[in-house]
Amino acid sequence: MNCRCLATLGAMALAVGVAAGLMAPQPIAGQAQSAQPKAAAATPAKPWTGKTPDGVPDLQGYWTNNSYTPLTRPQNVTKEFFTPEELAADNKRRAAQQAEQTEPGTTADVHYDFTQFGLDRSQTRLTDNLRTSMIIDPPNGQLPARVGAAAAAPGGGGGARGGGARGGGGAAAAPGAAGGARGAAAGAGGGARGGGAAAAAPAAAGGGARGGGGGNQYDSVQNIPIGSRCIWTNSAAPIMMPPGYNPAYQISQGPGVVMILIENQHEVRIIPTDNRPHAPSAVKPWLGDSTGHWEGNTLVVETVNYNPRTLTGNFAGTSDQLKVTERFTRTSEDSFTYRFTVEDPKTWVQPWTGEMPFVKINGPIFEHACHEGNYGIANTLQAVRNEEKKAAEAAKAAQPK
């Protein structure tokens, strides 16, 4: 029962989560020196050799990637790794930032209390990633320049920090083309599969059943970001970013296949490892189309053909040449390293690579029936309709007779 409540609250809370993720990082005393810690968590002395009965590396179990590590390095940080003390201080500061959202009288407080519902990240096991950014290449920890963009554009397209922009609609610094073009494609009745609510100007308020019309976020369910509608979470695709809450994963392996259950919004990734080709490129799943293979101790997963509507935040405006290569390398009983390389020659001047650890947590994972329990959407839309009705009546009453 609790979980269903959380699901509902969670869906409603995504907007708040975005706010948390985007908060500008504060400088940390003493972090400017680039003292490289010798224990870079990613390279253990002895390789893990656990195998499944099929003889492939065993990645099975319950895992989390929960952390405050941002995708791109904050501008006031110059080194690649924190010391453990600096990390502890950074985690504490970010936890405090999250808690601040629930000050009585703030907007966030109306939604829910982070601490009370266990939704702030510090209440789940953190991975203790000493890296100051997930991005390890380019070495400056920033996204590479966009193709055709003005040279120095630090920070890339907004939305990057602390888990990335979730909601889609308009968060990214519009490489206008993508969202807009898709939005304009199909004329009346919607058709816009693009995320950007602001993109397709002439459509009727609220859009069609396929969404994408103009107007206010609360004109229709189709104008609400896909995360809040339980359609997609950035903890599943295009790369598995730490979600703000329920950051739990379960990996299962069977003959010729790896399955990843993402608790947040109940996403299931099925990765065949039996050398079969991708599905036809006309098939565009929300989570993209993945195939995998084993390279030594590493599961290598290549994903292409994403549904364009998944591609929000830093991925907004990417092309059909987007390819993500993930590498899962078990490093110990307690952890594996998750490395991802993102390529799209039409979008970035070079590929970029990031890395984060996953660590073990206790199972089992319970059913996150997000959509089924999403009372928040109906309640929000109803409330806005009520307000509009009240305003219309007030306006009518105020009219001179």
Partner: protein
């Protein structure tokens, strides 16, 4: 006359022998069915029958699990394309043994089946068990040692079968499943349902007291025999059974594709709350 008299005992004796042989053979066959079926599935690396793969039912149970004639579409505008195909049903004996009050509720379900409060499938809600197993979309078995996953194309539904029995923490749509091997057969015991799922599009249902015991046995490289005993003292007067075969998807590069149906259901669920109604 004499010779005829002589033949009678012979005929009787022969008949008895035939009957005896028949009884013995038949008895053997029956015994065999219980202990060692004719087909032995290939083994996984840990020695269990390998049920991995992409499977799908081929019947009309998702429309109505009881035997039924063809019928009108739920939405008349859909014409023959949404008309109900006829089906012989998957219920042993043909009729679900509802208690009287439950039969009334089934009728209510039927009447509202095509509305926002009707069939959960219309709203893209999780299908529950056993419906997920015959929903006319493929599902994939990912067979590990400690847990066996069943991933369903419809709504991205998932079942975790715990092979080390684990108590269910709370009620859910898909229930909580513990599994064990009985020779060639995977036996799955599922309960802790939330009672909100339907069995089909005509409103057959159970309460949150539903208890399903499934038996899945490979009968050839490309077939699984599926059988489930369904029990719910709040809804049915006695336990009853369903059974049907599952077929392997044989296409080259068969894959479980994605049917995330949330957005297809949103206009039905939230359309009345639009600022500007769809015309």
């Amino acid at each position: 006359m004499r010779s005829r008299l002589w033949t009678i005992p012979l005929i009787v004796a022969t008949a008895c022998t035939v009957m005896l042989v028949e009884v013995v053979l038949h008895g053997q066959a029956r015994g065999a069915a219980q202990t060692a079926p004719a087909y032995r599935a290939p083994r996984t690396a840990d020695g269990k029958p390998n049920l991995s793969g992409i499977w799908q039912s081929m019947n009309e149970a998702n429309w109505n699990i009881e035997p039924h004639s063809a019928d009108f579409p739920r939405i008349l505008a859909m014409g023959a394309a949404d008309a109900m195909p006829p089906g012989a049903g998957i219920v042993d004996g043909g009729t679900i043994p509802y208690l009287p009050a439950a039969l009334t509720k089934r009728k209510e379900n039927y009447d509202k089946r095509a509305t926002r409060e009707g069939d959960p499938e219309i709203r893209c809600y999780l299908p529950g068990v056993p419906r997920a197993m015959y929903q006319n979309m493929p599902f994939q078995i990912i067979q590990g040692t400690d847990y066996i996953m069943m991933a369903f194309q419809y709504a991205g539904a998932l079942r975790t079968i715990y092979m080390k029995p684990t108590p269910g923490p709370a009620d859910s749509w898909m229930g909580w499943s513990n599994g064990k091997w009985e020779g060639e057969t995977l036996v799955i015991d599922t309960k802790d349902f939330n009672g909100l799922a339907w069995f089909d599009r005509v409103g057959n249902f159970a309460s949150d007291k539903l208890h399903v015991v499934e038996r899945i046995t490979a009968s050839s490289p490309d077939h699984l025999d599926y059988e489930a005993t369904i029990e719910d003292p709040q809804t049915f007067s006695r336990p009853w059974k369903i059974s049907f075969p599952l077929y392997r998807r044989k296409e080259a590069n068969a894959r479980l594709l994605e049917f995330k149906c949330v957005e297809f259901s949103e206009e039905v669920i939230y359309g009345h709350l639009r600022k500007v109604p769809l015309n």
